[in-house]
Symmetry: C2
Subunit: 146 residues, 2 copies
């Protein structure tokens, strides 16, 4: 059983490779653009009313054969499902972004950590009521950050 | 250009079809299970230290040819990228879930709205610092909910 994704757009970002990208886009003020391909533009209707978006993109430069990995936060190996590493069995990138502007098929956003040229596979509206959780903690990370 | 997803697990939930599933799992107390397939179990290391997870799953009963849709909230058609409709070009479901228990390869969770039998494609740790946004609004939805 396999499923096929087709790109619906592409990322234009300041990050040319993993060494340039922030570990988390949330902590950067850089502005990126998402160009949605013309044939999907009807799906953008009403998007400009959203303050924040969920962007799912394809980590096309990631490895898929990694199950445990060392993170930037210590020597211990972690299971990739317990990390935000790009290297994972299905390398789908997830970012919450602030929507700055919609200009035709181009979305200007903040907080995206995708590399330049990354294929975009889905865009969803972010809602604090549904998607925001207070006091959610990655326990192993809290331990090593003490 | 196309990308291939392979399931890493499967959802066991009380929802047999879309008519039974809540519009948003967040507003339900139902408990679901995610069975991670044996070969991916090393990727679960340290997952039990996380309070909440991001679950990406495949909406295997959704349509992919829909770009605008009517929502449960009024007659107006909306672009699917501005909605949380399951019907979209790449039907990847996204849920923030509360992790109740890890029992071997099985995760017991709350807030998942996936149908029973849905393939799971990725699991990530949720962090309030990275993923939580206050006052994020879907403008069109706020208007019709007034």
């Amino acid at each position: 059983m396999e499923f096929t994704l087709k790109p619906v757009g592409v990322v234009r970002s300041p990050y040319k490779d993993f060494s340039q990208a922030p570990y988390q886009g949330r902590f950067s003020d850089a502005v990126s653009e998402i160009e949605v391909f013309e044939q999907f533009s009807p799906a953008l209707k009403d998007l400009e009313t959203c303050t924040h978006l969920i962007v799912l993109y394809w980590l096309d430069r990631a490895r898929r054969d990694v199950l445990v990995t060392r993170t930037p936060y210590g020597e211990e190996e972690r299971g990739v499902f317990a990390t935000r590493s790009p290297h994972r069995p299905n390398p789908i990138g997830f970012c919450v972004v602030e929507l700055l502007e919609v200009r035709g098929n181009v979305l200007r956003v903040r907080w995206l950590d995708a590399l330049d040229g990354s294929p975009v596979v889905d865009i969803k509206p972010y809602s604090s009521d549904i998607d925001s959780v207070e006091n959610a903690v990655i326990g192993w990370f809290r331990e090593v950050s003490k």
